[in-house]
């Protein structure tokens, strides 16, 4: 447990305490404690159905927990509505990318950029492209498709657009739900580089199943299982943990690298 031992613990940006989420009697998250410190790049892994997405859902206000608290920069998030949470500086992507198909790529990005504008300025027309949008276009490699409606994007392109939207949103905390799923190897690499760059200035939580990706980019990893934290530590520590191998990695190929 790296964070705990450090001499001057950095301020916790996200603090989840005693979280419990119940769906029709089934506890998807049960007694979860989870802390992310300012400036961290945290990976969140765990078996399918462990509750990773549900955790993000709770933090971002999509799901109401049965018990527990979620504090962000000292403020309680539970009970706030989704857009308030965004305005406090929490941004997320979705496991299945959702973009506005009828709007062009640029318009999608621009909307993500404009939420801080007062209503009055929203009533004006967009003129040109802001720097943030331009650099997100660049980062997501969508410049060529900038004026195409997002509906024509392929699965992977949507994923990129979604990351781009998150970037222009400039949140303090980014929650990425399987950002590289469905991306080709080189694209995963590019995402990884991007992630690294973002992480130098933001706090990031990434949910991923891609172990190769994890090994390359992760510093600290939290493993969830059946709604609680099974293990937290460095990539190596986690990979060696027999319980993690049992429930998540699998016996044979836990370490296999290609």
């Amino acid at each position: 447990m790296t964070g705990v031992g450090s001499p001057t613990p950095p301020a916790a940006l996200l603090e989840v305490r005693g979280l419990r989420v119940v769906f029709d009697g089934f506890a998807a998250i049960d007694g979860l404690d989870f802390t992310v410190e300012e400036g961290e790049l945290r990976f969140l892994i765990g078996p399918n159905g462990a509750g990773k997405t549900t955790l993000i859902d709770v933090v971002t206000g999509l799901t109401k927990p049965a018990a527990g608290s979620v504090r962000f920069g000292g403020r309680e998030l539970v009970g706030r509505r989704e857009h308030h949470i965004v305005r406090l500086g929490v941004g997320r992507t979705f496991q299945t990318a959702t973009v506005f198909e009828e709007l062009t790529v640029v318009e999608n990005l621009d909307l993500a950029d404009s939420f801080r504008l007062p209503l009055r300025s929203l009533l004006r027309r967009r003129r040109g492209v802001s720097d943030a949008v331009a650099s997100a276009l660049e980062a997501a490699d969508l410049t060529a498709l900038a004026d195409k409606p997002a509906g024509v994007l392929s699965h992977g392109q949507r994923q990129w657009l979604e990351i781009g939207m998150l970037l222009v949103q400039r949140p303090k905390l980014l929650l990425l739900d399987e950002p590289v799923a469905g991306m080709s190897r080189s694209e995963r690499e590019r995402t990884g580089e991007l992630l690294h760059r973002i992480a130098s200035t933001h706090t990031v939580v990434v949910v991923e199943h891609d172990m190769e990706f994890l090994r390359r980019y992760a510093r600290k990893v939290t493993v969830m299982h059946q709604g609680h934290v099974l293990r937290e530590g460095s990539v190596a520590e986690v990979q060696e943990d027999p319980r993690v191998r049992e429930v998540y990695l699998g016996r044979a190929k836990g370490k296999a690298v290609t």
Binding site: F23, D57, F94, T96, T98
Partner: protein, 291 residues
Amino acid sequence: MGALANQLPIGLSIAAVLLLIALGLTFTFGQMGVINMAHGEFIMAGAYTAFLLQGVTSQSFLIALPVAFAVAGLMGLLLEWSLIRRFYGRPLDTLLLTWGVSLVLQQLARDLFGAPNVQVTAPGWLVGGVDVLGLRLPYNRVFIIGLAVVCVVGVWLYLTRLPAGRRMRAVVQNRELAAYSGIATGRVDRFTFLLGSGLAGVAGVALTLVGPVGPSLGTFYIVDAFLVVVAGGLGQLRGAVLAAVALGFLNGYLEFWTDASLAKVLVFVAIIAFLQVRPQGMFVLKGRALV
């Protein structure tokens, strides 16, 4: 006080009518997401079927039930096959489309049967009534309540127990995937529409016992029918049943205490208020996906 108690069976009677007219929508609206404004005209078709059949045999009225099911069902099938199938995934467009169809059907009825109402004579065994709680409950109401119960049970069995019902739900939820699963989606759609519309036809026969039979018949019931489904929760049979019962009693008592006009307005207010608490109706199927 006595009158208050004998509003009970009346609430039930109103509920039964609401349920009958709304039941078919459980399929076409609830399952398939088609806001079928022509549903009322299918009810009308059922009523005219009863009209045409009367006097053919001594039990024409009973025979009219399955025949009306077939007639309205076939009309629904035809509508699905010719138009609706181009509109899946565009529920609001189906509303306008079927409204256009309903106008045409109304005018057609006017041209075929004339603008004035026609009369369907109730069979002898439905004349008269039975005393319940000091109130005389007409046999025709008892019949409608019974018919509603039978239809609900049938629909429930179909939806939950029969492969065909399962198949229908699969197609509605994900047409493409259903095809990938080997389901002949087109056939399922048509059959679903046939069922929903057929139920409207059955309702039409029953309504000849208590209401007018004319070209505008459908317009009297359509708004209420949709309100039942909305209050109940889309695609939820138990929701529809509960909503019909709740609205039936609400209607009955509010009208008893105030008057029919005010009762209608108050029911609407109650539904808005209710949707504040339960925005998706009484029963909602939860989902995680973003809309």
